[in-house]
């Protein structure tokens, strides 16, 4: 039995099992299914990374033609990282879903979607037939939609789900358009025909085709300005689903862009600039908006946009490197992008899992209502802290490694490339540094306000640390994060076959070696740093062992009746930042005025809003609505009219061809005369 069939069989058997077993067991069944699928696909993936691509062919009838299932190193890399996050996702989600056990039907649908989603993603990485690709892509979109709307009785969840649903299909429209474009010229649905077409097509046309693909995949990935679905969908979904959405599902867009770059023959410098500019904007804009969010999950969602931007910067650099024949830049760019894809899937899923644990303890995601949780849930807090440090790109964690690779590429590109490119790269450098700084502001705020200080509002129920099964998947992810940070050289070795797909093995001969040396030093320095921290802390313990250590209240400069409400809030923490960037962002602020001698209670609300959404989504939607409103009278609710419309339509359909015929005949007649 071939592997692809095996995966299909697993879906069917286990979906059926999920339906038939008791609620308590459904999670285990789903876990088993994901495990088996991961095992099967990881086997292919590891072989592909070692240099033996997997290939199977099916005859898909006259419509599909020959369906090629091919897993090369790129597929292998993405399959592995997807499997890891899907596994930790179901391990965590199984416990997360315990709270909803009374909703049997929803849970069944959820777990089935999870299994299907996982398999569909593996399909996306392997199917190299355009129609087949669109099918698995649609399958992935739909199953993700079903997972997002798990709490469909809440209006905002349903709204967010439909928002996702529509935008995901706009993405599919672009992809379909691009595929039709290619196949209408070549008559084949094989992916390789993209290469065949673009070799002989006009460069401008190739570039247009590339843009079409880029928009299609960019919507999925969440590049600005195609990102507006993301900050709604992530908070609406259950936390483990947000984790896998942000961790792997949006990475499908990245995979798509990389896959297309492998196939399409386009001017790499132009493509590189395009990707670079959009990525820098995505990165900076994403984090700028993330800072002012009050909802933890929304904040994390905007950070996904930022990280997609960082990955995009890497891809853009890689393209520039290919265009300029600069192997160092190409290697650093692509390796950085690929590694950051893995890294982001790790720390972002960890952040969402930790946020989920917090949510189930306090039943709110509003940062301003939290505080002091580190004393109640120290382990969750530490895990959140590790992930925060990693997402800020700070050593000794994994985020630093991929950002370091991209930085190396940037500096090398500034040195080696021609002037125009140097200026572009300095702007990109500026953007990347700014992203790093802003991320730090954002996560000191997020961690500091959620977990530190005293509780700002009384919590509804007593809070205790999550139990071990719920923490276990997070520990695994956290260990992996630290491992990449300390042993980055191993991953460069693993990545080189993927990068070679883009650059060719001759071009980068010796390149992995030099990077491995550098990264080994980085890993050792990080290790030295950790050891130094421990030594200093031990010295401190030794020296203060004999001294008197007392506890007291926080010093508040002489003021004694201190309450937790006097603490700095998230809003005040970022106030000076918010004022600084006010021209760029949109804040909806409503404030009561104080107008009496003894003022009454007043309220002040600030709601951040997305300027891109206002311009690109809300405005066109509004004018579309206004335009459609003119035809309101057609929908008057009386069936007679509707039948009339039907008849009118049929008559028009019949008459128009006849009319055309008549006109053509008339013209012919005149010609004869």
């Amino acid at each position: 039995m071939s592997l692809s069939i095996a995966i299909l069989v697993v879906i069917f058997i286990f979906s059926f099992l999920v339906i038939s077993v008791k609620e308590r067991r459904k999670g285990d069944i789903a876990l088993l299914a994901v495990l088996i699928n991961s095992g099967l696909s990881s086997w292919i993936a590891i072989q592909a990374l070692q240099g033996t691509p997997f290939e199977e062919k099916f005859y898909g009838g006259t419509v599909f033609g020959e369906i090629i299932i091919r897993a090369d190193a790129l597929s292998g890399w993405f399959i592995l990282l997807t499997n890891f996050t899907m596994l930790t996702g179901i391990l965590y989600g199984r416990r997360y879903m315990k709270a909803y056990e009374n909703r049997s039907a929803d849970i069944t649908l959820h777990y089935t979607s999870y299994i299907v989603n996982h398999s569909a993603m593996i399909g996306i990485f392997c199917v190299q037939n355009m129609l087949g690709f669109l099918c698995v892509w649609e399958l992935m979109t739909l199953s993700a939609f079903l997972m997002i709307i798990f709490e469909h009785e809440k209006m905002e969840v349903l709204k967010a789900g439909i928002n996702y649903f529509i935008q995901a299909h706009i993405s599919i429209t672009f992809l379909t358009l691009a595929f039709i474009w290619v196949s209408s010229h070549t008559g084949s649905y094989d992916f390789n025909s993209i290469a065949d077409y673009t070799v002989q097509a006009h460069p401008a046309l190739s570039f247009m085709l590339f843009l079409c693909f880029f928009i299609g995949f960019g919507i999925k990935a969440g590049f600005v300005p195609f990102h507006t679905w993301l900050p709604y969908a992530h908070p609406a979904a259950p936390s483990h689903v947000s984790g896998i959405m942000s961790g792997v599902i949006i990475k499908l867009g990245i995979f798509g862009i990389l896959r297309i770059l492998l196939l399409i023959k386009v001017n790499y410098i132009e493509a590189g600039y395009t990707i670079l500019v959009i990525s820098v904007i995505s990165g900076v804009y994403g984090v700028m908006l993330a800072i002012i969010q009050h909802n933890v999950k929304k904040l994390l969602a905007y950070h996904s946009i930022e990280n997609i931007g960082i990955i995009g910067i890497g891809i853009g650099l890689g393209c520039l490197g290919m265009g300029h024949n600069n192997s160092y830049l190409a290697f650093a760019g692509f390796a950085g992008a690929l590694l950051h894809t893995l890294n982001h899937s790790l720390f972002k899923s960890l952040l969402f899992y930790a946020a989920g644990t917090v949510y189930q303890a306090v039943h709110t995601m509003d940062i301003e209502k939290l505080g002091g949780l580190i004393k109640k849930m120290p382990k969750t807090a530490t895990l959140f802290l590790i992930a925060s440090l990693a997402i800020c790109g700070l050593p000794p964690f994994n985020g630093f490694i991929s950002e370091f690779l991209i930085y190396s590429g940037l500096f090398n590109g500034i040195v080696a490339n021609p002037l125009s490119s140097s200026i572009m790269l300095v702007s990109a450098l500026f953007g990347l540094v700014l992203i790093g700084g802003l991320a730090m502001l954002c996560f000191t705020k997020a961690f500091g306000i959620i977990f530190l200080g005293a509780e700002r509002h009384p919590y509804p129920a007593p809070i205790s640390e999550a139990e071990l099964p719920r923490l276990f998947p997070k520990y695994v992810v956290a260990l992996f994060i630290l491992f990449i940070g300390l042993m980055p050289q191993l991953f460069i070795r693993l990545l080189s076959p993927v990068v070679i797909l883009f650059t060719g093995s001759q071009a980068i001969s010796g390149m992995p070696g030099s990077f491995i040396n550098t990264l080994q030093t980085v890993g050792l320095s990080s290790l030295a740093f950790i050891i130094l921290c421990i030594i200093i802390y031990q010295v401190k313990q030794k020296m203060t062992a004999a001294r008197k250590i007392t506890t007291s209240t926080t010093w508040s400069c002489g003021y004694t009746p201190v309450t937790p409400r006097l603490q700095y809030t998230a809003n005040s923490f970022v106030r000076s930042y918010r004022k600084l960037v006010r021209p760029l962002l949109m804040m909806r602020k409503s404030e009561g005025t104080i107008n009496e001698v003894f003022p009454q209670t007043t309220h002040s609300d600030t709601h951040p809003y997305d300027r891109f959404e206002a311009v690109f989504i809300d405005k066109p939607l509004k004018s579309l609505k206004r335009f459609m409103g003119r035809f309101d009278f057609l929908q008057n609710g009386s069936e007679q009219f509707y039948i009339l419309y039907g008849i009118a339509f049929i008559i028009i359909v019949i008459i128009i061809p006849i009319l055309i015929d008549v006109v053509v005949n008339l013209i012919n007649l005149f010609k004869q005369v």
Partner: protein, 304 residues
């Protein structure tokens, strides 16, 4: 050999703040304390007990150690002329900036851990100012990478040689930028007044209100080390390659002393900016470093 620079910077940190304070007192006509007084204070703090706030968690207790370790690792990366520091690799200045950022991260969350509104205020300012100062450093290093064709500290400083007029201008601008970055990173005038007595107008001091004993000593000493570290970085501009140790060590010490006097001078004759003007001021640094970038392009003949 890398250890030499490490030792020199640590040694310089012992008297750096002392010189700043001494020169300030001389400018204002006082006698002032001895130049080793700050270190003596640190040593006194090291031998004290501590008071911890009930609100704080383990974050508050580990934060100063991590901050101190980050500064030490950063110092280990500073080269000595053409000789590499203890840690040196391609792109090491990225690690340098990020490890310092890590220390700052812990400093900020340590302040937030106390739940005090004053410390939250300081933390907020520190986070904002450091994010604004970061691009200047990176663009500066990018310009030098472009100028020399290398991407690590010691290679850049090893092959940095001033030739034309423009390159002198670039060197002066670079020293200026690093001096200002130092003042921002150490929360000194004109961004922050370390001697102010009103918590509302503090940045760094208000963040460490609750630290005491050993932890406070670590933070003070880290500040001294950071000063000496940036002084060492500036000294590298003047340590020409190939010169002998009996020549370069005095240059190093002279630069440190001169730098400390300059800081004392600035602090004696400048007033602190208004808080809401600080961001603009800090961001100006980035445009200065862009000027350096343009200057480098001019030197290399890439434009005109």
């Amino acid at each position: 050999m890398g250890i030499l620079n490490f030792i020199l910077i640590v040694a310089a940190s012992l008297f750096f703040s002392g010189i700043v304070i001494r020169s300030k007192s001389i400018f204002s006509g006082r006698k002032g304390p001895g130049i080793f007084q700050p270190v003596k204070d640190v040593w006194r703090l090291f031998r004290k007990g501590a008071v911890y706030s009930e609100t704080t968690s383990f974050i508050f207790r580990i934060a100063p150690s991590i901050y101190f370790a980050s500064v030490l690792i950063a110092i280990a990366m500073i080269p000595f002329g053409s000789q590499p520091g203890l840690i040196s690799f391609k792109g090491d200045f990225v690690f340098f900036a990020y490890i310092l950022a890590l220390g700052k991260f812990f400093n900020i969350i340590g302040a937030l851990d106390t739940g005090s509104s004053f410390e939250g205020m300081g933390a907020s300012r520190e986070a904002l100012y450091s994010l604004l100062a970061e691009p200047a450093f990176f663009i500066l290093m990018g310009s030098f990478a472009l100028l020399t064709g290398h991407t690590s500290f010691h290679e850049i400083f090893g092959s940095l040689h001033f030739g034309s007029y423009i390159s002198y201008a670039v060197g002066v601008l670079a020293a200026f930028v690093i001096t200002l970055i130092t003042l921002i990173e150490n929360s000194r005038m004109p961004i922050d007044d370390p001697k102010t007595h009103l918590e509302l107008t503090m940045v760094h001091e208000v963040m460490i209100l609750d630290n005491s004993g050993f932890d406070l000593g670590l933070i003070f000493q880290a500040a001294n080390l950071k000063f000496a570290m940036y002084g060492g970085l500036i000294a590298n501009f003047f340590l020409t390659p190939g010169s002998e140790l009996y020549f370069s060590i005095p240059i190093f010490i002279a630069t440190q002393i001169l730098f400390a006097v300059v800081v004392g001078f600035i602090e004696s004759f400048m007033a602190r900016f208004r808080m809401n003007q600080n961001p603009q001021y800090i961001f100006t640094l980035t445009s200065i470093s862009l000027l350096i970038f343009l200057g480098v392009l001019l030197i290399l003949g890439k434009i005109v």
